[in-house]
Amino acid sequence: LGLALYAGSVCVVSGATFLYHDYCIIGAGPAGLQAAYFLQQAGRDYIVFERSHAPGSFFALYPRHRKLISINKQYTGKSNSEFNLRHDWNSLLSHDRRLLFRRYSRDFFPNADTMVRYLEDFASLLKLRVQYNTAIIHVTLEKNEQAWNGHYFILTDQDRKNYKCSSLLVAAGTWVPNVVNFPGSEYVEGYETVSINPEDFTGQTVLILGRGNSAFETAENILGVTNFIHMVSRSRVRLSWATHYVGDLRAINNGLLDTYQLKSLDGLLEGDLEDLAIVKDKKGKLHITLRFYLENRNISAGIDSITLPQDELDNFATRAPYDRVIRCLGWKFDFSIYNRSLRMMPGKGNIKKYPQIKPSYESRGTRGLFVLGTASHSVDFRKSAGGFIHGFRYTTRAVHRLLENRHHGVPWPSTVYPITQLTNSVIKRVNEASGLYQMFSVLADIILLRENATAFEYLEEYPIGVLAELEMHTGRKARNGLFVIIMEYGRNFSGADKDVFYYNRAVGEAQHAWQSNFLHPVIYYYKRLPTEREMRLHHPDWPLPRPDAIHHIVEDFLTDWTAPNAHILPLRRFLENCLSTDLRNFFAESCFLFAFTHQKLPPSCQQGYVRMQGLVGSQELRHHAVQAGLLQDYTHTDFSDDRPPDSRDGSQEQLMRDHGIPVRPLQHLVNAKDE
């Protein structure tokens, strides 16, 4: 490390034409600023390049209709700041409580201008080092064995000014509009420029290409004034409440579905846009035809010579001519500025709009280049929230922690607890942690067991995709087994074509927790770290390879997993059985008895009572424990008492009775999610 730092300073001295920084960040959007915040907090040498004069330039333009669809919950009934972030999708992470989005807007779906203002404040209040009006137009590598990654990144801006960095964090987002080319595509207006004034659409018939939120947002805006709107795209509509993916069509935008399904007014069509062709007639109306008909023909011959589908098929769906065709096909990553040597390749299939990265967010082509923010969504596209502020604020933190360990010898932050706190630390996190909740099945809390399972180390929000390389990435040792805590939806529950409202969709009983459908915590136990091979070969539907044991905490209507019997008890039994120990709490009196009658003590007595921190318990509590048959009352001991010392028969019955009564009548409430 010393060498690397030395090398860095040499660069500054010798390469006078270069401005050197350890970390360069491209883009001062939410992800870039978030990364800058963590680097600043850690005291690192970094710079953010922003092509605009202010942060968040994407939000200055988009969404066109200015309504953000990320929720901004003012009230949750809780003061827990970590928990509240679960329902605050706009704030970035910081220590500054002024920088909570709810202080900027009272709207549940805030205006995009507020986001711009928020990002400006975030950058200025935290004094982040952002260099505005600097568009990076070229990135290349300079080999250097002393560099952190064997090369430096050379960035060139629009003024041909060069910057040299050891590590490059690309937070440029996806801002290049997706364009389809087909005959007649010149008649198509783009989402980025189309009018947002509904009056401009009065009495018009509109075709919208695309089926995402931007398409529906556009439709929503003009729904009331148009004759009708048709929407066409390759795949069926995916409703986010059915898929549990926030990138799919949100209910706030889906007014067109109403008119389509109720009155067959507006409509959705499926078809490949590549096959499409548009011809303009003399009146300026746009006719939909197929590329197939246009082949071998001379378009200049005029509309009359072109076969339209309805000529052959007189009930062809889009036979009516349109006044306007609008393209709302989303955006893609700007690959153009990276030199070939960086091998920034687009992903395959439906993630081709994103660059190829590893689950550690490092580029597959170049070591030391990390992709943050929306552009990093290929890791969890259509699964989790990594493409959105409320998700990537956590993955950005994870990347920062990886970098701290890799370049500065700062291991992943962790806390060591005695084993008696094991159940508690899991319960605490699954109830309040926001990172686990937003980035479900992507970020995981990791519990590393110490030898003999007397203590454990707790690591938060580690990317599970690189679980096999945990020791290398975190600087922590996982020799004695580990627990991985993630949140999951039920398998086969979410999907575009799934009925998510079927009866008995919610599981109420802890013993059927594995069939839980709604987001619920799942704990994987491994006796040893899974190998890279195991990670590579595990089933794609599963976030992780086969564990040695698994536990599901049963889904909860309130997402409050603190019920002593339904949530904590089964979890404790699971942990106990993995560790082969007894994790019950005991009152001091029980520990006293054990100390005199057993050569070994349970962990709770060993780590509490014996260290003079026994739980004495009030009179009432001990009385309750006696009544429950879990503590023997020796005060009124009758020597002729027939009951043997460990007998719990009568009280056991009592206990079962006490449990039995409240459970039955409440059964229907347990499954309240059904109703």
Partner: protein, 839 residues
């Protein structure tokens, strides 16, 4: 009943039919529907058969038919075949012709009709078997109605054979069947006598019997010689089932006392085989006759509960105490024989009875558990077995008096701390049981310290304010801190009891160590009068006396004070006249003055050089009592010494004499190798639990024990006949050390395993989600296709089919199964499997 008997006699009719024989199937099922001619021609002489006649179609007899069909198998065991005879329509013979006869079943021996039964008397399998055997065993089982009948039979049997006398509330019951089945086997050995008369039951049993339940007595008439005396009787204590009767008769048939001349570890008798303990009376040549009488006496008392053997010490080389006179061998595998010194035969009997009771209860529990398991596997899994969690959740409805306690939040935390000179803060999580248990004690502390000046109690709920808690570095719940203005906070590290918490808060009010300015203050401090804030608080006071030269030692002492702050009352005096103060207690500075019990005795200890840690250790050690009363809160301090305990259990306060003698023992050796202490069972009732674990019966109190808590775990009991004096104790301890004593008990070495298994979700998921198996598609050829039963993903109940169990076990890559409580599960599965096959 007797009227019935007459009817049988009257119904004895010869019936002769000549016909060809019908082939007899080997199966126990109902023989199917021969014609009457076929049936009667097939009857073999001496062979019993139960027949019923039915017209081809008779829907009314259907339920009866089912019962009789299912009893066929049971009756087959007793050589009785069950036949349904089909009456042709035109048949008007004796059995087929009469409407009446069609509602009866007929029992034949050979071709002789023994009895006919109305079908309503044969309501189930039990009644069929009981009634049929009752009829067949007419001679073997005597039915009586009066006490005179019983006495007559008894007198006839005296000196000849034994009698089994059973009372059943009604015939045709399961108990009746059990008695008849036993009579079938033992009828030639013992005379069976049966009654249904409740009056007879009352006459034969001592206390008020429950006439609704069956009752069986074994009457030892064979050995009875006195015609005036009734035979000795041994009642069957268990419910009347064939197995229990069989067991009882087996036990009654065993010799009363077995003479043994070999290693008792190798002995096995009927009793042990039947799961009963065996009591050895250790005998010597000189006392053989007396021992034999004792053994017989005990044997009679324990008849049916335990076996008794007479073990001759002269013939067997026993490595046990010479004083031992009784040994107990339990049927449990691997349990060592217990050698005891008992004074009374009653003790032997209570010992055995207690043991049996424990076992019985355990068995009952086990049975219950097993039943539960069948219904719903491990239903106990979801029953809370954490005493703290359960106690707190039972208490959750009670509102805690927390008005005295300030609620701190992220907003007001720092401002509140700066307002008071000293603030006590309890960090807790409102969902966590231990936190809530402590919060209850904390609320009591608040009530207790109400109005004490300068004490501000507050709390922070970390579930509401996680940022604040992590900022204050609170990683465990609960945590109690005292924040003092301008100083580092002090974290509490003691017992979570009301008293201990209050004492800590009070002691923390004064600085530790407290700097004393004048000689008067120092003297007042040692008397416990200064500072006035603590005068109500009775603690041992510790005063460090330093000359100006010993500043290094003083610094270490002050540092130690910081560490012990709140736990120890510490003062420091380093004025010019420090020398004079220390001289008074015949030490020279640097020195420690230790004032116990309000300064009545002050001890001077010279301070040697050492680190702060050594100093802390030394102070802690010095504060320990020489002969303490062990209580729940103070035990850990003595446990830390890692020494064996010489502990006197006393019903109340110990007598002055005992205290004096014990103190002598405790003080006797300067380098104490053990902790001498006592326990007041009134104050620490859990001590009863300890004694019950050590001894089967609670010994007479006081009892002095040597407990090797840290090495080996043996418990030795000081002989109760000796008085507790220093001399006796020391010589006993010498014997202990020399290994001449046998431990009365040994502390359990068991590890603390999970109390119950967890839900095996992995196993449940496997049938429905085969992709979870390791490396799917990696080596597909090696994985046999999953059973079709596996695709029950939508099923509401978790599938736990045998195949999945097997397949997991087979899969090499399924580590971790040993951790999941496999053994009990497999055992449970075996049982279940058996059930299935039975069905």
């Amino acid at each position: 009943m007797s009227a019935q008997k007459d009817r049988w006699v009257s119904s004895l009719v010869f019936l002769l039919f000549c016909a060809s024989s019908i082939p007899r199937g080997g199966s126990a099922s109902l023989q199917q529907e021969p014609s009457p001619q076929h049936y009667f021609s097939g009857l073999e002489a001496g062979r019993a058969s139960l027949a019923f006649f039915s017209p081809s179609v008779s829907p009314g007899a259907q339920p009866f038919l089912e019962q009789i069909e299912s009893s066929a198998e049971a009756l087959q065991d007793y050589g009785v075949s069950v036949v349904k005879v089909n009456c042709p329509k035109e048949d008007v013979s004796r059995y087929c012709g009469k409407e009446n006869a069609l509602r009866k079943a007929f029992l034949f021996r050979g071709n002789r009709l023994i009895r006919d039964f109305p079908t309503d008397a044969l309501f189930d399998v039990n009644s069929i078997v009981a009634n049929v055997l009752f009829a067949l065993l007419f001679n073997e089982v005597k039915y009586i109605e009066t006490l005179a009948d019983l006495e007559n039979i008894e007198n006839v049997l005296k000196g000849k054979s034994n009698m089994v006398f059973a009372y059943v509330p009604a015939t045709g019951t399961a108990e009746h069947r059990a008695v008849m089945e036993a009579a079938f086997v033992y009828g030639t050995i013992h005379q069976f006598v049966l009654t249904t008369e409740a009056a007879l039951l009352r006459a034969t049993s001592h206390d008020d019997p429950d006439v609704s339940s069956a009752w069986l007595l074994f009457c030892h008439c064979q050995q009875a010689t006195d015609p005036a005396q009734p035979c000795r009787r041994t009642a069957l204590a268990q419910p009347l089932t064939l197995l229990n009767i069989h067991r009882h008769l087996k036990l009654m048939g065993a010799p009363l006392v077995t003479e043994v001349a070999e290693d008792p570890e190798k002995i096995s008798t009927v009793h042990l085989q039947l799961g009963l303990p065996l009591v050895f009376i250790l005998s010597q040549k000189e006392t053989y006759e007396a021992d034999r009488r004792t053994a017989e006496f005990v044997a009679w008392q324990l008849l049916g509960k335990a076996g008794v053997a007479l073990l001759s010490r002269d013939l067997v080389d026993l490595n046990v105490l010479h004083r031992s006179n009784v040994a107990l061998k339990t049927p449990d595998e691997g349990m060592p024989i217990q050698y005891l010194v008992l004074e009374d035969t009653d003790e032997v009997i209570t010992l055995v009875e207690d043991k049996n009771k424990v076992k019985q209860i355990q068995e009952d529990e086990q049975e219950e558990e097993e039943e539960d398991e069948h219904e719903k596997e491990n239903s106990n899994q979801d029953i809370q077995d954490d005493q703290v969690v359960e106690a707190v959740s039972r208490d959750k409805k009670r509102e805690l008096p927390l008005e005295q306690i300030l609620v701190l939040t992220e907003e007001n935390f720092h401002s509140s701390l700066s307002e008071a000179a000293r603030t006590v803060v309890l960090f807790y999580a409102s969902w966590e049981a231990v936190s809530l248990a402590v919060l209850r004690s904390y609320s009591e502390v608040a009530a207790h310290l109400k109005g004490t000046p300068g004490v501000v109690l507050s709390r922070v709920n970390c579930w509401d304010w996680p940022g604040l808690c992590s900022q204050e570095n609170v990683t465990q719940f609960p945590t109690m801190r005292i924040y003092k203005e301008g100083q580092q906070s002090v974290t509490y590290g003691g017992m979570w009891g009301t008293q201990e918490l209050s004492s800590f808060i009070l002691l923390s009010q004064v600085s530790c160590p407290l700097k004393l300015a004048t000689m008067d203050e120092a003297e007042g401090y040692l008397r416990g009068e200064f500072p006035p804030e603590l005068s109500s608080h009775h603690h041992t006071s510790l005063l460090g006396v330093f000359s100006t030269a010993s500043s290094k030692a003083r610094e270490a002492f002050e540092e130690a004070g910081n560490i012990l702050s709140g736990h120890v009352r510490m003062g420091v005096y380093f004025e010019d006249d420090a020398l004079a103060l220390s001289r008074k207690y015949s030490v020279s500075p640097p020195a420690l003055l230790l004032a116990r019990s309000g300064g009545r005795s002050v001890e001077g200890i010279a301070l040697s050089k050492g680190s702060v840690q050594d100093m802390v250790q030394m102070i802690r050690y010095e504060l320990l009592d020489i002969f303490p009363e062990i209580t729940v809160p103070n035990l850990p301090q003595y446990l830390q010494l890692g020494k064996p305990f010489l502990i006197l259990f006393s019903a109340g306060d110990i007598s002055q004499m005992e205290s004096k003698e014990m103190l002598k023992v405790a003080k006797g050796r300067p380098q104490q190798a053990f902790v001498a202490c006592w326990l007041n069972l009134k104050k620490t009732p859990v001590g009863h639990g300890i004694l019950r674990t050590y001894f089967s019966t609670t010994p007479s109190l006081p009892v002095l024990l040597w407990v090797n808590l840290h090495a080996g775990g043996q418990v030795f009991k000081f002989p109760s006949e000796q008085s507790i004096t220093e001399m006796n104790i020391l010589s006993w301890l010498e014997k202990l050390q020399a290994g001449l004593e046998i431990p009365s008990s040994t502390l359990s070495e068991e590890d603390w395993k999970p109390p119950l298994p967890a839900y095996n979700f992995l196993q449940m998921m496997e049938p429905s989600v085969p992709e979870l198996s390791p490396h799917p598609g990696d080596t597909p050829a090696q994985h046999p296709p999953k059973r079709p039963g596996g695709d029950t993903a939508g099923g509401d109940t978790p599938t736990r089919e045998e195949p999945s169990q097997e397949s997991t076990a087979e899969e090499a890559g399924s580590p971790g199964r040993d951790l999941r409580g496999t053994a009990p599960r497999l055992a449970a599965r075996d049982k279940q499997g058996k059930r299935h096959s039975e069905l």
